[in-house]
């Protein structure tokens, strides 16, 4: 009984450390409401977005101060002034370990003004979206 208690305590500690690591490793973040104000969306990255390399970024969603875990999130983006989209097709998926929506495959091809659009579908809530504006140096 003691052994199993210890095991679960260690597991909980490990889990909380993982969560802590994710939250504190964000060096850059933007938070805004979706168009219909259904969600508060926080976009975080390990470092300020830059060109030429895959970005380590993730999203967290809140609805009425509650974290939303089961949403489907689709993303798109591009440079409106240059009439082109993202160089890759990034994928957004919920990670239980990180308790965040991990963005995989995100890359920027050049400096300048970029837009990242996130379309969000969650149960029992109207579909909503938001567009982040980024100025990449």
């Amino acid at each position: 009984m003691i052994k199993s208690g210890l095991f679960f305590s260690m597991l909980a500690l490990l889990f909380s450390n993982t969560l802590f690591a994710t939250q504190t490793s964000a060096k850059w973040q933007l938070t805004q409401l979706t168009e219909k104000k259904q969600f508060e969306v926080k976009l975080e990255c390990e470092s300020a977005p830059s060109t030429g390399v895959f970005q380590n970024c993730w999203l967290t969603l809140k609805h009425l101060d509650e974290t939303i875990e089961s949403a489907s999130v689709f993303m798109n983006g591009g440079m409106p002034e240059h009439h082109h989209g993202l160089p890759t097709a990034p994928v957004v998926s919920w990670s239980k370990e990180s308790r965040a929506y991990i963005i995989e495959g995100l890359k920027f091809s050049m400096p300048g003004y970029w837009e990242l659009n996130f379309s969000i579908e969650a149960e029992e809530l109207p579909k909503d979206q938001t567009t982040f504006s980024l100025n990449i140096k």
Binding site: T51, G52, F54, G78, E81, H82, H83, H84, G85, L86, P87, T88, A89, P90, V91, E104, G105, K107, S109, M110, P111, G112
Partner: protein, 398 residues
Amino acid sequence: MFPHKAITSLLFAFIFFPLSSFAQNWTQSEIEKISSLSLKNLEYPVDPSNKYLNDPAVISFGKALFNDTRLSSNKKISCAICHIESSAFTDNRNLAVGLRQGFRNTPSLLNAAQHNWFFADGAKDNLWAQVLSSIENPAEQNFSRVELLHFIASDQKLINQYELLFNNRFPSYTEVDQLPIKAGPNARLAQLISWKKLTKEQKDITNRVFVDIGKAIAAYVSTLKSEPIRFDLFAEDLALNGKSEILNDSEQRGLKLFIGAESGCANCHSGPLFSNKEFHNIGTGILAKDNGRSEIIESVIRDEFNCLGKYSDAKPDQCMELKYINRNKHSLSGAFKTSSLRGIKDTAPYMHDGRYMTLNEVMEHYKRMSKLPRQTDLATIDLSKEQQADIVNFLMSL
């Protein structure tokens, strides 16, 4: 002696100082941008799909094959015929000529391994697959993969070398004898039919040898790199002293324009290769003829020789470019890979199809952007003749 030396130094200063007053003023942000273009930022090429990349014996074998005209159907064409060492590994023709004329300009191989995608439209996601495509292409070496297997099988010394280098059993004489003389999936119809008649095992043993040969040549090509040039010395001097006279007045004005917002050149021509290695539509694609990236998305995903395929040495999570490939054909219509500008003075003609003989013509192309019939990723770059000349002078220093 000392007074004489001092007088000489003074005279030197009087004579040369007024002439060297062309040093431009640079902001810290500009100096950082220039520094980011320096060759010192170029990292050693990494290709997890090719485990032989750093094997000196395989590199040496690859170099021999790169120069071997026997790897062509007429025994006259090798990789080196179009990629001429004395011409920065290009051929200075508008369009490449192998067995017959192709439809693309021959790119330089210097720093080729630094790219994420190969061919102007990125039809291959690794260098060895690109090599193999050129060997089989009827317009280039026209040498099918089964012919290549017979070529090695005909020479016991080559067989021994193959088995030693790749730690891979070369197919037995019985297995080789059962194969047709010529066959390959990318060859002309008769050879394609012969290829389709082979068993799955026969195809696999042929592919294994073919891929190893491609990886050897790619390992050699990966060693071809630019040497530091005057621009790199300038960037270093500028970072140290805040000014430099290593580039002349016009070249420095050209560089300032090149990295500035007015031209926007460095948006795409960034990093030590002067290329962001991505695909952009600058109005050079021709619909129904050669429309660039949008035309090859499906084939690169299905390619048996891609990073995720069974002949790759990479783990799936090392194939990020392919895994997250942009499949939006509409947005990639007419897009080609940003050319590297390093060594550009030696690599005329320009653009993916060699349509321009000079950089002045390239500058005029960018000035005509708004008049092109199709929408492009770029607005017109409206520079004066003097500004264009300065940028061209800067580019010729690369």
